[in-house]
Amino acid sequence: MSQIISLLLVIISVAGLAILLTRKSRSSRWIAFVGTLIALGLTVLIGSLLDAPSESMFSFLVDFLMLGGTYAILSLGLNVQWGYTGLFNIGVAGFFGVGAYVSTILVQDPINVVGAGNESITVHFFNLPFVVGLLGAMAASGIVAVVVGFATLRLRSDYLAIATIGVSEILRLIATNERGITIGNRGIENIPQPLHQCLVIPVGANPAPPCDLFGIKIPQFISLAHYDWFYFLIVLGFLLIAFLALERISRSPWGRALRAIREDEDAALALGKNTFRFKMQSLIVGAIIMGGAGSIVAHMVKFIDPSVFDPLQRTFLVWVMLIVGGTGNNKGAIFGAFLMWAIWSTTSRLNDILPPTLLTPLGKIDVASQLFGPIRIMAIVIALEVILLYRPRGLIAEEKHTSTKIDH
């Protein structure tokens, strides 16, 4: 049953996307948009009434919103770099992964480390609060951006692309090989979550002592299953702060200077703008947001390994989200992230419906393990190329930003 519902979800999302992409008039696109949302909501509602208990349906919803929210943060970060300034960063995974690793190393308790494999490794973790981890992740990601920016921002835009993809690859190599810092391919498990001991009622007979927060004793009051709701608030808070801040600065002189550089760098230079400095600032701001997303994801899934540097999930998907949603528009970046995440995450359930193996004249093909993943990637690439060819502005086109000082 749940497979059929997820199939319906995919069909509705794709159909809605197709209608949104093809209709030109504003009112029909609004109708298509609202119609798609209602259809999606009804499908979820019917699904929850039919078989799944409402509790699990809600937890599915929270999971979806949390992961989609982190993608929305990444997409916002990329929007600063690509959408505003035209900086071509295809190492999003690198900035994201640096954030995840730095935050984990800062926050993880030293006790939690289990001897990895046969060899004994001493790994130093710092056991600091989550906030320090988050800030450290953002700072580390910003420093990586400074290094990349100094090498490439004075040159043609393609050099930045090559350097960012290289940095991402090197960081993955470091995460794999420096076992003394990152435990290598085994990954770091049981990453502590913020305020977990203070909020969650411990499971077990003996009551745990109330949590001591800045000298005030608070008893724990939420059950383990509801902790995700609290974490969702953190994701939402970060997303909102990033969104509001970016909306504000995109209307400031700084934001206008960035767009001027994107449209015509020589003209901006001729008008006396230090384009290198503006580009550097934009790269750093975007990288800081991506690093924050890395930290948030690490503490959400409580496990990281070198696959956080996966260029498909963490770079390409984010690019598709931004381009589908609307380059240069923060609302579009968020909308595209949730939309593409809905399609990407629900299609993974289609694997349950398809036959596991397929008999062809050429021989038996293992659909589940060999064909399904690649075909999903190919479909999303084709979607990207079609959008690049036929609707390069995305679903929500960029708004016109002018200074309030100018008379219209």
């Binding site: 090498a151 040159l155 043609r156 835009s157 393609d158 090559i162 190599l173 260029p311 060999q370 990637i377």
Partner: protein, 355 residues
């Protein structure tokens, strides 16, 4: 005196950096040959082998950059796609050739059979890769010809993932190897003191690569098409006004680049211990490092850069055993970043390539 010296340095900064870089390369070679504990000619020969594979791959990348004006991120995956085609044809030939020519069914001729199969496979890989690249160009890049170059780069980045997924869907993720036996040893002792081992495979790799490069040089230098291609890379509009069929030249560019890439892919599969779908993205970083080191857009620069990258990483890794050999791509990338900082136009590039 210091003032005149300073102003002399300021005026000749370009030339000085260039000669400093050449000096560092020469010092590195001397260090690797004579001074390093674990050094000697062996790492350099291994480096030349890897460098000659990179060289074949880097030519296509630099040509598309110069003539089509974008960094083609799908080039590494075209290379590996060609190698996989060769793998399939190789298997087919080993099965079917003995039935066509009974003399090859004789177990004594087994090695010959495998070599012939590999040769046919390589030829078909070249044509397969060229056809595939032309198809992609026809469907996708041609429609984006008038777009900004970054749009083309995004499109090619997507294409890279598409080809990788296609390879994975058709051939699976397991490591594949060619049927030819790569362990035919052939020892070459040279220069008395400088003793190094070289297998037949290494020798074939290096000589094939250099032969193809010389042929390419002759083609670019003396044929009408080659001259037209060079004219196009200098100035596209001027070339069009003087009657050069630019679309045809673009097809030639894809053909040469992808054909050489397919040969590089087959040699990569032979030399680097088998084929996996992610090899394309691994090798792409080396290719970019080689192209930038030599000067982006210059075919001869790409050859030089590939050799420097290939030798540098064996020279630096083999003697210093504390560095994990996993960091080999890291060295290539470090060279790339240093080069971008001190001399972004590369070893052979001319100044003022900012744009």
């Amino acid at each position: 005196m210091p003032a005149t010296l300073l102003s002399w340095i300021r005026h000749n900064r370009e030339a000085i950096t260039k000669w400093v870089i050449w000096g560092i390369i020469a010092l590195g070679l001397i260090w690797g040959l004579f001074i390093a504990d674990n050094g000697g000619p062996q790492p350099i020969v291994d480096g030349i082998r890897f460098g000659s594979i990179l060289m074949l791959g880097a030519i296509g990348l630099t040509l598309t950059y110069k003539i089509l004006n974008f960094a083609n991120f799908a080039h590494g995956d075209i290379l590996i796609f060609g190698a996989y085609i060769a793998f399939s044809v190789d298997g087919l030939m080993v099965d079917s050739l003995p039935q066509l020519f009974p003399i090859l069914a004789d177990p004594a001729n087994d090695d010959l059979l495998r070599l012939i199969a590999l040769f046919i496979a390589m030829i078909s890989a070249v044509f397969g890769a060229i056809g595939f690249a032309l198809l992609i160009d026809r469907i996708l890049y041609r429609r984006l010809r008038r777009s900004a170059s970054v749009v083309l780069v995004i499109a090619s980045f997507g294409m890279a993932l598409f080809i990788r997924a296609l390879v994975q869907a058709v051939w699976g993720v397991a490591t594949h190897t060619y049927s030819v036996r790569v362990t035919l040893p052939m020892y070459v002792d040279a220069f008395g003191i400088f003793q190094f081992r070289m297998t037949l495979l290494q020798l074939v790799t290096i000589t094939t690569a250099f032969t193809l490069i010389i042929l390419l040089h002759l083609f670019l230098r003396y044929t009408r098409t080659g001259k037209a291609m060079r004219a196009m890379s200098d100035n596209m509009d001027l070339a069009r006004v003087s009657g050069i069929n630019t679309e045809k030249m673009i097809r030639w560019t894809w053909g040469i680049g992808s054909g050489l890439a397919a040969v590089a892919g087959v040699f990569a599969g032979l030399n680097l211990g088998g084929l996996t779908p992610i090899q394309g993205s691994d090798i792409l970083l080396y290719l970019f490092a080689a192209v930038i080191l030599g000067g982006i857009g210059s075919p001869y620069g790409a050859m030089l850069g590939a050799l420097v990258i290939g030798i540098a990483q064996t020279i630096l890794i083999a003697p210093v055993t504390t560095i994990s050999s996993q960091y080999k791509p890291g060295i290539a990338f470090l060279l790339l970043i240093i080069m971008l900082l001190v001399r972004p136009q590369g070893l052979l590039g001319s100044a003022g390539r900012k744009g």
